[in-house]
Symmetry: C2
Subunit: 114 residues, 2 copies
DNA sequence: CTTGACCCTGACATGGATGTCAAGTTTTAG
DNA sequence: CTAAAACTTGACATCCATGTCAGGGTCAAG
């Protein structure tokens, strides 16, 4: 599939897909004329990238966590630690958000009653 | 309390506190020389601002939701709707984050086992 | 071959909260 | 009174994913 197809399939703009590649998060084959071609599996990979981005990881963190250029996973204690620390961060973020949600829900309730 | 005290009490930098005021989220009394003075209640207000910011509301949204210059709450259908829509957004955000957390937890598990 | 849709690279712009620096004023401690 | 610490305003810088524009190439259908 070409970049427009991948964009349509994932909702990521072509600009973003090129950026992901530039950051080493995504690879593409090139046609003779230089246009990018992606395998079907790219859809899932882009979804994963989107999830991690929206979870607050930046591209450097994602690159650490998902070695994608060299396909073989290099499992080091350091990587495990990195993953765990990101997991902790996301967990804390969820806790914070839940508290904030309670506050908002309280306001909604308060304004709804009278 | 002065701005340094409020900063220490909330963890927000003095820069941020001035910014909140500039955005109409926070008010301060001024001493003769022009320095800001805050009541104790400002600590809680700043905490609330921090929560809402970290939940992804920008200062305009917070200003909509927390009328603070005019202290009397203007309860309009519009405001109720606004609150509800922000609540929905935060709820969706939490759902997304939970899914991402699952993914990260899966990776941690995978890397931990072998 | 031509045309229109699609793609390429490179560069600059954006938003929004926050950092940081400069030059000057206020407050507080000694 | 004086020195240091804290504060003031204003301006410019930063991050970083994404938007957008320009100028040019590619590809498929007629």
């Amino acid at each position: 599939m070409r970049i427009g197809d991948l964009s349509a399939a994932t909702g990521a703009s072509a600009r973003s897909l090129r950026y992901y590649e530039e950051q080493g998060l995504l690879v593409s084959a090139r046609s003779g004329g230089g246009q990018r071609h992606y395998p079907e599996t790219a859809v899932e990979r882009v979804s994963l990238i989107q999830s991690l981005l929206s979870a607050g990881l930046n591209s450097a963190a994602i690159q650490d966590v998902l070695p994608c250029i060299s396909n073989e996973a290099i499992r080091t204690p350091w990587l495990a630690e990195r993953l765990t620390s990101e997991l902790d961060r996301v967990t804390r973020q969820i806790d914070d958000l839940n508290r904030t949600r309670e506050i908002l829900a309280g306001l909604v309730e308060e304004y709804r009653v009278d």
